[in-house]
Amino acid sequence: MKTIRTVFGKEVRDNFRDRRTLISALLMGPLFGPILFAFVINLSLKQSLPDASQPLELPVIGREHAPNLVAFLESNNIVVVDGPESRDAAIAGVSRGDHDVVLVIPPDFGEDLAKLVPATIEVITDQANTQAERETRRARRALNAYNQELAGMRLVVRGVSPVIMRPLNIDEVDVSTPSGRSAILLGMMSYFFIFAILTGGMNLAIDATAGERERGSLEPLLCLPVKRDNLIFGKIFAACFFMAISLALSLTSFYVTLKFVPLQDLGMTPNFGIDVVPVAFLLLAPFALVGASLMTLVASFTKSFKEAQTWVSVVLLAPTMPILVVSILMVRPSTALMFIPSLSQHLLLVDLIKNEPLNPLHIAVSVIGTLAIGAILTWICARLYRREGLLG
């Protein structure tokens, strides 16, 4: 016990003086996630907000052939402007990206309407251009509304109720809460936290074997009259300590970032208040032991610090796999899934952010299961530390 404490104390002091550890534990993890997140959210806000209050400028060719339609469009907050001189010019303009969408009204539009023949109207758009999608959708929605209105009027003229055209009344009931909607986007947050945990302890985990060996300090260390298990335990616990710091900073910086991201404009109010931060910390913290022992294990097979860094970066990606698979398959949280480290933390965090009640059994399985796997990996590290091949 005294050995573990001595090694732990030395590693903590040593690494607080190491700029490499400080940058990765206290800067990289905690800042990388929130900044990337704020960037992505702001980008998608710009992309997808259907700002109906802003008038849409719609170029129309042949507006003189359909004055009623133009009046209808203008009453729907669409400003009709003169389009290019010809249909060909409009097609060229749209494909060049000069216009998002152009309406073409042929000269016989009014005549067809009067004859009750379906009157053609062309919507020229580039479906590959996602930027234009929003404008096109808005123009088409206005045209559909006009279509409905004309059809209704024709029925009324013939003494038929327009309601006859609507045999079904489709009513969608959306049960998602604003917090729930945010979970889809905020689901990616859990990976940032796991990433922050891992980067926090990365240098220490590598140092425990590859670093000590490269420096030549491993051999004298192994000559000391102490159990090697205790050396590795002290080192892994020190790594966990830095991981916990990194996680706490990361959660806090997210909490601050979310205050400045206008998520409510996207219809999201994530449950990520100051009271959620410590709960999230406790849910995620057990993963530190798995991360620390796994990275130590991987690093112990490598010859140098550089080689260890390469392989340990692979470990940084490994926790995304289960999260990715489950996100694609849309699997609901179950007790069995709680045995998988990183995935169980992800699922619990998503529920927490959705403000849904957490299943105590799930929490217990996640915490105990993750710690158990961490303990097994730590034990394997201790076994490897006893090998003489460790000296390389």
């Binding site: 001595t6 030395k10 040593d14 420096r215 030549g216 491993l218 003489e388």
Partner: protein, 243 residues
């Protein structure tokens, strides 16, 4: 006292040590001499317990290094080949870390660390971080670190490697002082002059076997060479080559 009896150690196909036996007495300096790759480091590594012998017995003060490795380790101070320090810790912190790991009583550590700092004359840079230390400074700190628990046996693997003249001289002085204190000093080297200047006993190792074990004078006599270097070369010829 260090006793090695019929030690064997192979790494895969390579037979590094093939039946090495010798005895290093307390109050004497024993030099392990041999060309590169002769099996010196492997023998020492078995003694300070980071390698397990395939065959044979090694004891430190009568304690078996394999079966009671923790007790054996407590009785030796080791300076392995190229012993590294922790660059972010000061020399004093490096030494104190080891003192703690040796299980020394906490309240006695500061005084004892100061004692070895004075003994090795490293007070000038004891409170600087060891990053950027010269090889001589590093060796002294590593040595201080391995002596902090007052071991009865001291094992040094090529300690003078990379040291300049002055550093080598002060290292020799220190080794002599350890002898005066009645310690058992065992060190390896491939430099004939160094071994001749220091040792009471010389164990010449070649191709994993003991070629000759005697005092410097005894070796001169047995090979019929006045020059120790000549004697060394002659002694090596007696070893059968590895099959």
């Amino acid at each position: 006292m260090i006793v090695v009896d019929n030690l064997h150690k192979s790494f895969g196909e390579v037979k590094a040590v093939r039946g090495v036996s010798f005895k290093a007495e307390d109050g004497r300096i024993t030099g392990l001499l041999g060309p590169n790759g002769a099996g010196k480091s492997t023998t020492l590594r078995v003694l300070y317990t980071v390698l397990k012998p395939d065959q044979g017995i090694a004891t430190i003060d009568g304690i078996d290094v394999v079966r009671q490795s923790l007790d054996a380790r407590a009785r030796i101070g080791t300076l392995p080949h190229g012993a590294g320090l922790y660059p972010h810790l000061t020399a004093r912190e490096n030494i104190a870390y080891y003192a703690n790991l040796y299980g020394m009583a906490r309240d006695g550590i500061d005084a004892r660390v100061q004692e070895v700092i004075d003994a090795l004359d490293i007070g000038d840079f004891a409170d600087r971080r060891t990053k950027g230390f010269s090889q001589g400074q590093r060796t002294k700190v590593a040595l201080a670190r391995s002596l902090v628990h007052r071991p009865n046996n001291v094992i040094l693997d090529e300690p003078s490697n990379g040291l300049d003249v002055m550093a080598t001289r002060s290292l020799r002085d220190l080794i002599r002082r350890l002898k005066e204190l009645g310690k058992c000093v065992l060190f390896s080297s491939h430099v004939m002059q160094e071994v001749a200047a220091l040792c009471d006993e010389i164990v010449i190792i070649a191709a994993g076997q003991v070629a000759m074990h005697d005092s410097p004078d005894g070796i001169r006599e047995r090979t019929g060479c006045d020059d120790l270097e000549e004697a060394f070369v002659k002694a090596l010829d007696r070893v059968e080559p590895v099959e």
